[in-house]
Amino acid sequence: MSNEIEAIKDPGLPAHVHRKADTDPVAEKRAERQVAILFLISALGTLLFIFAYYFIADDVFVFLPVMGNTNAHQLLLGLGLAIALFFIGAAAIHWAKTLMPDEEVIAMRHTMRSDDEDRENFVATVKERSAAAGLGRRSLIKRSMGLSLGLIGLSPLVLLRDLGPLPKDDLTKTSWMAGTRLVTDPGDRPIRPEDLEIGAVAQVLPKLRPDQKRTLNDIGKDAVLLIRIRPEEFQLSAERLSWTYDGIIAFSKICSHMGCAVALYEQTTKHLLCPCHQSTFDVPRAAKVIFGPAARPLPQLAITVDAEGYLIAQKPFNEPVGPSFWERSS
């Protein structure tokens, strides 16, 4: 026995096995009928589709098991289309599988690489042509062309400048000013401390001057949550405590992580939770982050009441609201 290692041999392509329809005329006829039936089912599907479009009103609802109350128009329209499409596919594939030739054939591959002669010719041509154009010699043209092509590449960037204004102080300023009244959202009603019971939470916005119209941009910066707890539950510095009023504390509703609305308040734990990424803020401790990806507490708005007893802002926010950005200093 030789010591040379001999691999197991390739037995070659197995002999072709004929299908029933290839040899039996009865089976062939049967397959033909099956294909025709599949095509006919598709045609019925299209008829159902047309029928549903014209004759089933779009306010008819039917009760179906699993699906519940279902719009009949939409359901039959869709089912008609699905049947029409699916059975064309089923017919074509059944046709191919039973009646079309199914003998495996072998084709040869060629390597992707060009043969050596072609490659040499290619290199020679490129060299000759570029020499004819003087690409190597005319460095003045080459450099000036580089300059002009480089510069013209800048023009789209210049054109895109007017896509938007420069940020300026847009991210750092909100509509809250000293003395701005807090109004309910929705409703735009001024709000008194006694309107909020202990444990209550309310969304407020700054009161607008009569000539102002509130935009979504304003809401995206101005939205504030008012929460009332028992004053003795606060664990705040003296300064921050002076920003609250009678157990009412106000935070920006725009998450300090990625700007979602921090809308879930859990009364028993006094936690505010952002539904986007589950950052959790502890209300009695000035919205300190106690869980999740947010790195900063929610900005607190200093509030008090005016002479008429309505809640007002003592001063603007002392830091930008919303997600972080490069120019933010704290």
């Binding site: 495996e104 992707m112 725009i254």
Partner: protein, 528 residues
């Protein structure tokens, strides 16, 4: 000649005299395509793309890509009298007043989910079978590009209706842009035409969604298919199949009928889903308002892993010299995805560097025969799966009554611990499967028939397997580890010793395998 043949002949002659198409068609109508179910995955992606073009075009006839504020007075009662953007109102109009509109919206959205799923599974097929190897590296990179653009295209698409859920997604995207050091604020203001949300982004992302990206898709898909056509499809190893040939069915008629029929099957299934399975019911969410949100905000599945990474990020933020660098956004939102996708795109080159293999490959690998690659793939999938699950941590918490904090901590630990475990386990499973293959070739199939020998011993009868199967199980190469010398012929240390060492290490790990049986082994057993 029948009348029909005459007409066909006239038409064909007319076209050929002007294009010379007959020469091309003669060659290509008999082009051979190998057959295997896993080769259909890319087709599903292609067909979903066509469905997306068709249904998307229909939707543009009614959709109004504008953030102009309108008063809704349509047939959906609960929102009547509300102010909303024209984009949201027109999406309600498509859903409730245009006949077939809701169906088309749902078909479009389902097709998008299927498109992305098909791309991912197709990518897995190409990866685990080694179909990306030379000469197909370009197509691999195009594929990674299509995957990346698909994620962006899908995200922009579901953001267009301007509902409360999608607006929240856009808000998050804006926060990621804004988080970029130095230029973030400026890019965000340019992209949104000012502060968030502004009135510019719906019209802008509409143009990107229906014109720019689909155009790039069409170009990339065309090149992708032309390369498949020109380089010929890979094939599984088997009797009669070699690196030099391609075994399968000619394009006309069987392959044409199957592929064409399969388009209708995919379209039919998508239409069925659109008919019976509600998706993105935007009327339940309400119009976008940055001060509101609904609990359980979830992106589409192909964005879920990204959201999951962001959710599990620790609260890290750098404050330097009066500037803020939010690492809690940059690391999970940009840096980790950037590394993952760059690594994915470069994988063919990394592997060929490790194996030193610069030859063309047209026969696919069975995943078990390349344990390291397979294990690395499962490891990456495990990473993505943990991230994806964490993206649904709120839903998991409410569904299974678990604490959100425990799930988050599980994910934070599992994302580091589970992938390496997955690597080791997968590699061991691959080697075990190789061992099982070896057993099967050498000792045949267990028949389940027990035989009592004259002296009372029981043995199970093994039946030799067919030569075809034996070939299939042993057709693969088992390359030895690279022999890289640390010193050259004259005894001088080579440059880049550390790189060499690393390459040798990985190459050695790569070469670990169960020796495949040879004809000698078989003969020896026969002698016994």
């Amino acid at each position: 000649m029948t009348a029909r043949e005459r007409v066909a002949g006239t038409v064909a002659n007319y076209v050929d005299e002007r294009t010379g198409a007959a020469k091309w068609a003669k060659k290509n109508l008999t082009k051979v395509f190998p057959d295997h179910w896993s080769f259909l995955l890319g087709e599903v992606a292609l067909y979903s793309f066509i469905i997306l073009l068709l249904s998307g075009t229909f939707l543009t006839f009614w959709f109004d890509p504008s953030q102009r504020e309108v008063l809704y007075e349509g047939s959906y009662e609960p929102l009547n009298g509300l102010h909303m953007s024209a984009a949201y109102a027109s999406t309600l109009h498509i859903s409730f007043e245009v006949r077939g509109g809701l169906l088309m919206r749902q078909i479009h959205h389902w097709a998008a989910l299927i498109f992305m799923a098909a791309i991912v599974v197709h990518l897995m097929r190409v990866y685990f079978t080694g179909a990306f190897r030379k000469p197909r590296e370009f197509n691999w990179i195009i594929g990674v590009g299509l995957l990346t653009l698909g994620i962006v295209e899908g995200f922009l698409g579901y953001s267009l209706p301007d509902d409360l859920l999608s607006g929240t997604g856009i808000r998050i995207a804006e926060a990621i842009i804004q988080a970029l050091p130095v230029v973030g604020t400026y890019i965000a203001f340019f992209a949104f035409g000012g502060a968030f949300p502004g009135e510019a982004f719906i019209p802008r992302i509409f143009t990107v969604h229906v014109l720019l990206l689909p155009g790039i898709f069409l170009a990339l898909i065309t090149v992708h298919l032309m390369l498949v056509w020109y380089q010929k499809h890979t094939q599984w190893p088997g009797p009669g199949r070699t690196e030099k040939n391609v075994v399968g069915y000619p394009l006309m008629p069987a392959y044409m009928a199957k592929a064409g029929g399969f388009f209708f099957i995919v379209f039919g299934v998508t239409a069925f889903l659109g008919a019976v399975a509600s998706i993105n019911p935007i009327w339940l969410y309400g119009p976008y308002n940055p001060g509101q949100i609904s609990a359980g905000s979830q992106p589409d599945w192909y964005m879920g892993w990204l959201d999951g990474l962001v959710r599990m990020a620790p609260p890290l933020e750098l404050h330097l010299l009066g500037h803020t660098i939010p690492l809690n956004i940059l690391i999970p939102g940009l840096i980790v995805p950037g590394i993952l996708f760059t690594g994915l795109a470069l994988y063919p080159f990394i592997e060929s560097w490790i194996t030193g293999d610069k030859r063309e490959h047209h026969l696919l690998d069975r995943p078990r025969n390349v344990p390291n690659r397979t294990a690395l793939g499962v490891m990456s999938l495990t990473f993505m799966l943990v991230a994806l699950l964490n993206g649904g941590n709120d839903i998991i918490a409410t569904t299974f009554h678990l604490g959100i904090n425990q799930i988050m901590w599980f994910s934070r630990i599992a994302i580091f611990v589970l992938p390496p475990i997955a690597f080791v386990v997968t590699k061991r499973i691959c080697l075990s499967l190789q061992r099982a293959d070896r057993e099967l070739v050498l000792h045949g199939r267990e028949t389940g028939r027990l035989l009592m020998l004259p002296h009372g011993e029981f043995v199970e009868v093994h039946e030799p397997i067919s030569p075809e199967l034996a070939w299939k199980l042993t057709a693969h190469e088992q390359a030895p580890a690279l022999a890289l010398e640390d010193v050259d012929a004259r005894g001088v240390r080579r440059a880049g010793g550390l790189k060499n060492k690393l390459r040798k290490r990985i190459s050695a790990a790569n070469a670990e395998s169960i020796a495949k049986p040879t004809a000698n082994d078989l003969k020896e057993i026969e002698h016994h």
